[in-house]
């Protein structure tokens, strides 16, 4: 891992004002100030600062244990912060959480549904909790269940497949037309078809002006949906911006991926690659894979590599991706 890149990124992204003032001038619906949460002295979220614009889709990206869910649980009034505060549509998270609750919809990471109830009963119950009119609940329930392709709506939710439960979980967070929607890993465990359905649904929702805060460790998801991305690791925001911003600011150049037949070959190659001038960063992956980032021309480097390293299974050249940026910043893959 390249420590200097990480440190540089932390300094650069510690102040979201700096980022936004230069590029945007819009209304912020969420402003997080020094928000922190510790559990038995262990810092799960370590004084983060964020600004989220009204109507945007904001992704919080990070590996498991980065502090994404803790951040969401604080912003959705479930967890009391140890330090700091956030303003959600001008209401203080600490002092006015009851004014925040009607504004938000929360789709938790786990499928939190009332399993003995039918899909309709589940959605109706949430509507009732938000003080909705029964006729409105019925109308909106029908629309949402249809849109999310949930069949058998009068059957007990415990008979649903994992994907259906996941989609019902999402519908429950939308019945009251929240202004801000928190989606904690909304497509985790979904098959590609269902995932695409949810993505399209989220995109449609964004067009209606809902502000969406999404946590994910799926690169494709963040890439496909987000206006802005914050990368979290070890309770801190280590990068912040649009996908293009992140790529251009954190990129080291281009990427070469090597596959080796054995670990011995990999270790030998790693030593030799470290001696090549243009190679900036070397990361070891699973399945005997090495990823190197480099500057300069690929052809020159390729010739040099072929001279130095005799045995490798495959060599693949590609441009820097969000996952590579993440790897550089954290030293870990997103699924670690």
């Amino acid at each position: 891992m390249d420590v200097s890149i990480k440190e540089e990124a932390q300094i650069k992204y510690s102040d979201p004002n700096q980022f936004y003032e230069n590029k945007y001038s819009t209304e912020f619906i969420i402003e997080v100030q020094d928000l922190a949460k510790s559990f038995n002295g262990l810092k799960a979220v370590d004084g983060i600062n964020l600004k989220i614009r009204k109507g945007e889709l904001f992704s919080l990206l990070g590996p498991n244990g980065a502090g994404k869910s803790t951040t969401i649980r604080m912003l959705t009034t479930v967890l009391k912060p140890t330090n700091g505060d956030a303003r959600i549509k001008d209401y203080s998270l600490i002092k006015e959480k009851n004014k925040i609750k009607p504004l938000i919809g929360v789709c938790p990471q786990e499928n939190v549904i009332f399993k003995a109830l039918t899909a309709e009963d589940n959605v109706e119950f949430v509507g009732r909790m938000h003080g909705m009119d029964p006729a409105d609940i019925k109308k909106r329930t029908n629309t949402l269940l249809e849109k999310m392709n949930i069949a058998g709506r009068k059957k007990s939710a415990k008979t649903f497949s994992g994907g259906m439960k996941r989609r019902l979980n999402l519908v429950m967070s939308l019945i009251h037309q929240p202004q801000i929607l928190f989606l904690d890993e909304p497509t985790a465990g979904l098959d590609p078809q269902a995932r695409r359905l949810v993505w399209d649904f989220i995109k449609d929702l964004k067009n209606t002006g809902v502000t969406i805060i999404l946590t994910t460790h799926d690169m494709l998801e963040a890439d496909a949906l987000s206006d802005h991305i914050a990368i979290m690791d070890l309770g801190k925001i280590i990068a912040f911006g649009t996908l293009e911003d992140l790529k251009s600011s954190s990129s080291n150049g281009n990427i070469l991926e090597f596959s080796f037949s054995s670990r011995d070959e990999l270790i030998q190659a790693k030593i030799k690659l470290g001696q090549i001038m243009n190679v900036k960063n070397i990361s070891e992956m699973d399945n005997n894979k090495l990823i190197i980032s480099f500057t300069g021309g690929v052809m020159t480097l390729k010739q040099e590599i072929l001279r130095e390293i005799e045995s490798f299974k495959a060599l693949h050249f590609r441009e820097d991706s969000l996952e590579d940026i993440f790897l550089k910043l954290t030293g870990r893959g997103l699924r670690d």
Binding site: R73, V78, P108, V112, V126, R128, M129, H130
Partner: protein, 268 residues
């Protein structure tokens, strides 16, 4: 802080639907008490058997024990319900809704009360109507009320148990253990000649219910000068009203402690 409002009823409605669709829960709530009644009837009311007090059979005198057992099961069902809500995330999800914990607790009390009413109607109908247990009709509503007050206290006990346990199975085990232990220690199943009985709410409920609904006949006299029958069938120094006060005190304490402890343990 959100106030208590109609949302409590919607929560109760949701709880009732969930419980009605849980066959295991319905068995313990409805079927098992009737089975207990049949067992007691077969065991304690042989024709020509010895009468215990004023011509009452052992079945008549033990009938209040079945009422206590049945209503006390609320401690088990509520412990399971609240422990489940902690584990499956529904409590946390409810915390993101604009609804107070007061509504959640009241919703639970309302839904459990609906089932307690159902249980009492079944027990009374089957016990008094079909199996012929003796009762004083004028006192039956008061007996019903005492059973309900005790049941609300049992929900409080269930809340306390659920506060300390993180699995519905664990809550079920501990609540069942505490319920059955209290049933035996209080002498509710079989009379027990021990001073320990005074420290259990079950004992007071059974004795007050017995005195009023099975043995007694004059409400005013009983309230002010009647005495509670001890396990050994001797009269105690406690008048009925003090027994009622003790039941109220137990209920208030369990509900107060239950809500306080549960709030403390689940507010993050």
């Amino acid at each position: 802080m959100y106030s208590i409002d109609l949302k409590a009823w919607y929560i109760a409605k949701k709880n009732i639907k969930e419980k009605l669709r849980n066959l295991g829960s319905m068995f313990w709530t409805v079927v098992f008490p009737i089975m207990m009644l049949l067992v007691y009837k077969l065991a304690f009311s042989e024709e020509g058997g010895d009468a215990m007090i004023n011509g009452l059979t052992a079945f008549d005198v033990e009938f209040p024990g079945i009422v206590v057992y049945t209503i006390g099961m609320s401690s088990v069902t509520s412990a399971v319900m609240f422990a489940m809500s902690k584990v499956d995330g529904t409590l946390e999800r409810m915390d993101t809704f604009p609804v107070s914990r007061g509504n959640i607790f009241l919703g639970a009390i309302l839904s459990e009360s609906v089932f307690m009413n159902l249980q009492l109607i079944l027990i009374f109908g089957f016990g008094y109507g079909v199996l012929g247990a003796h009762f004083v009709p004028a006192m039956l509503p008061l007996g019903y009320l005492i059973a309900m007050i005790f049941g609300i206290g049992a929900i409080g006990l269930g809340l306390i148990i659920a506060s300390f346990l993180n699995s519905p199975e664990g809550a079920n085990g501990i609540a069942m253990l505490s319920h059955m232990t209290l049933m035996f220690v209080s002498g509710s199943f079989f009379p027990l000649d021990n001073a320990g009985v005074f420290f259990t709410p079950q004992y007071w409920v059974k004795q007050v219910y017995l005195q009023l609904t099975v043995v007694g006949d004059f409400f005013t006299d009983l309230m002010y000068s009647g005495t509670i029958i001890l396990p050994t069938s001797e009269a105690s120094i406690f008048p009925i009203w003090s027994g009622i006060l003790i039941i109220l005190a137990f209920t208030s304490t369990f509900i107060f402690l239950g809500i306080k402890i549960f709030q403390k343990k689940t507010s993050l």
